[in-house]
């Protein structure tokens, strides 16, 4: 009984990790940019949902579409910033921008919403009882959203012209450029998509998540973990890795002493690092 419960909890938290990791892995693969601010956009999504529910009286799903449009605009602006810096000073410029945005967003959220942990009340979609465990409807929606996003991202990358262009850039930017792919456009697209997905993840998980301004760095680290286990630029790998890490975390919290809860997934990652000859880089 306990095992099944822990498994289900693990899948739910793991799907959140996957959702955050999918965008991060895309940017790493296509743009070769480690966007330090990636997790912060999840935090922005969370606080946007809080703002919508407290000030505008909208629940997370009603705020979803306007928020996506907003995140697309933010994404285009940030992508432009990365591209501009990358062209001018290279890798270090992009790392600096990411780090500055991470600190800036954290500070901004703390000023606007104070650093007391918050939760959003009001949105209830009923619940399901499985194996003696009550799962809220919003959690099921989050899992479903992860799967849909991951599958459509995978199909987009595999099937469409645009997706093929992105994969070509990920494999070899120079060669893709020679074949007529507009490499800077592909990189901008990757950054924008990743920010939209991260923001959407924040909105979707907001009904069952505790909000703190520094939640961004927590999600950044989980995104790093997902990429290491799933491989750079590998969307499907990111989903499996995220769910795997979620399950390991959940099981270790059930069966092992408390300090192992945060340690167990890290040990798994270190083992993966030692065993694998290198990080795979297939999109």
């Amino acid at each position: 009984m306990l095992f099944e419960q822990l498994l289900i909890v693990g899948i739910i938290t793991g799907s959140v990790y996957s959702l955050v990791g999918v965008g991060f892995t895309l940017v790493l693969g296509v743009g070769r940019v480690a966007n330090f601010a990636h997790g912060s956009f999840v935090a922005v999504g969370l606080y946007l949902a809080l703002f919508a529910s407290e000030t505008l009286g909208l629940n997370a799903y009603e705020a979803f579409v306007p928020a996506i449009i907003l995140f697309a605009l933010i994404g285009i602006a940030v992508a432009e910033l990365f591209e501009w810096r990358g062209r001018k000073v290279g890798e270090i410029g992009e790392l600096l921008i990411g780090l500055a945005l991470l600190l800036l967003i954290g500070g901004l959220l703390e000023v606007l919403f104070s650093d007391t942990p918050r939760t959003i009340n009001g949105l209830v979609l009923g619940h399901v009882d499985i194996a003696g465990l009550t799962i809220s409807g919003t959690q099921l929606v989050a899992v479903a959203f992860t799967l849909v996003t991951a599958v459509s991202l995978y199909l987009f990358l595999r099937g469409s012209r645009w997706g093929r262009a992105l994969r070509a850039v990920a494999e070899n930017g120079e060669a893709a450029g020679l074949y007529g792919v507009r490499v800077p456009v592909a990189r901008r697209a990757a950054v924008t998509i990743s920010i939209v997905v991260a923001g959407a993840a924040g909105i979707v998980i907001s009904p069952f998540t505790v909000l703190t301004p520094d939640v961004g760095s927590t999600y950044l680290i989980s995104a790093f973990a997902v990429v290491i286990v799933g491989g750079i630029g590998n969307a499907l790998g990111a989903v499996l890795a995220g769910i795997g890490i979620g399950i390991v975390t959940s099981l270790s919290s059930g069966y092992l002493a408390s300090y192992w809860t945060s340690l167990a997934p890290l040990i798994v990652i270190l083992i993966v690092l030692l065993v694998r000859p290198g990080l795979s880089e297939a999109v």
Binding site: I92, L103, L104, V111
Partner: protein
């Protein structure tokens, strides 16, 4: 062509000595509150220098430096608390422990080259350090270790009645590190790392032991990082995970190192002094509104990052080389903008260590 600009003509050594003497005197004249800010700044300066050694010399973006700082602090504190061994010996032991730990970490992080992979792996190691420390009972678990207080000044136990001797020790440490980096740039190893940073393949082909050099520099930077850890533990009279690890410390270290820039040995030191003083000033000016301090600090960092992407020392280096190009004429044939890009051209290993001026660039053969 990328080139490590750690070499220094004689007047730089004089400037360093003057800085040391002036700093020593200024610290003695200050009241207690500014001294504590200076201790913090110089702590981050030393830790940031260890990051800049890696990033500046080889382009290795290591986020594991706080781990080595913590190893230094924990080793000396454990030896002192448990066995009463002087922190001076603990300092050597801490450096040794950091070096031993750096071997597997460096191997895993750098087995596959690439800034991004190294950053990913070292961030995970950095994050794993806190739960690992909490799990080790002899090291005090999540509470940490408290160092027994001696009354008054005790050089053997590295405890002082005021912060002034600590500030001076940190100052001496920073000056030693800067001097070491200046000497390193002129050594054979310094030239090798410059060649590896330009093109690992080309360097390897000309007989430079690439992986061995990368590992050696990684170990050296871990040993450097352990020293401020020991001093900071003694200054605070405690060690715990919050003091050394955690994302706040890591990001502060990165900000200091990147604002300073790795183009000159003094980059991190200047970055630390500027950013720590600035953050202190801003949080005072912001009053008690929560979050304003961190927000203005982040905004200041963003402005710095946009205005001086190569850091203060990088901007200075470009200024100096532009001036020399105007004065000398044609020595600096390379446009400054391409300096930090990896063009993959062959590094001229024939360049002797006797070259005096750091800025004059040899045209690529």
């Amino acid at each position: 062509m990328t080139r490590l600009r750690f070499s220094a003509p004689a007047w730089r050594w004089i400037a360093l000595a003057v800085f040391f003497v002036l700093g020593w005197l200024v610290i003695g004249a200050l009241p207690a509150a500014p001294v504590s800010v200076i201790v913090l700044a110089l702590f981050y300066g030393a830790a940031g220098s260890s990051f800049n050694l890696l990033y500046g010399a080889l382009g290795i973006f290591s986020l594991a430096q706080p781990v080595f700082v913590a190893v230094g602090g924990y080793t000396s504190s454990y030896l002192y608390v448990r066995y009463g061994i002087s922190p001076w010996i603990g300092l050597l032991a801490g450096m040794a422990c950091a070096a031993i730990l750096a071997v597997p970490i460096g191997f895993v992080a750098m087995r596959r080259p690439g800034t991004v992979v190294t950053a990913l792996v070292t961030l995970i190691i950095s994050e794993a350090a806190t739960p690992i420390l909490s799990a080790i009972t002899p090291l005090g678990g999540s509470i940490g270790l408290y160092i027994p207080v001696k009354s008054g000044t005790d050089w053997g136990a590295l405890q002082f009645a005021t912060g002034v001797p600590f500030a001076r020790l940190f100052l001496a440490l920073n000056v030693l590190i800067v001097a070491g980096l200046m000497g390193f740039g002129r050594s054979r190893a310094g030239l090798w790392t410059a060649a590896i940073k330009d093109s690992a393949d080309a360097a390897s082909a000309t007989g430079v032991p690439v992986l061995r050099m990368r590992l050696s520099i990684f170990i050296a930077s871990a040993m450097i990082a352990a020293v401020p850890g020991v001093l900071f533990a003694q200054y605070n009279l405690l060690v715990n995970a919050d003091l050394f690890l955690g994302s706040a410390v890591l990001f502060q270290l990165l900000v200091v190192a990147l604002v300073g820039g790795s183009a000159r040995p003094w980059g991190a030191l200047v970055g630390a002094l500027v950013m720590t003083e600035l953050s202190q000033y801003l949080s005072n000016a912001a009053g008690d509104r929560p979050g304003i301090g961190p927000l203005t600090f982040a905004a200041a960092f963003l402005v710095m990052a946009l205005a001086m992407p190569r850091g203060i020392s990088g901007t200075w280096a470009r200024f100096v080389s532009a001036r020399q190009a105007r004065a000398g004429g044609g020595d600096d044939r390379e446009p400054p903008d391409t300096r930090d890009h990896h063009e993959g051209n062959v590094a001229p290993l024939a360049r002797g260590p006797s070259r005096d001026s750091a800025e004059t660039e040899t045209p690529t053969p």
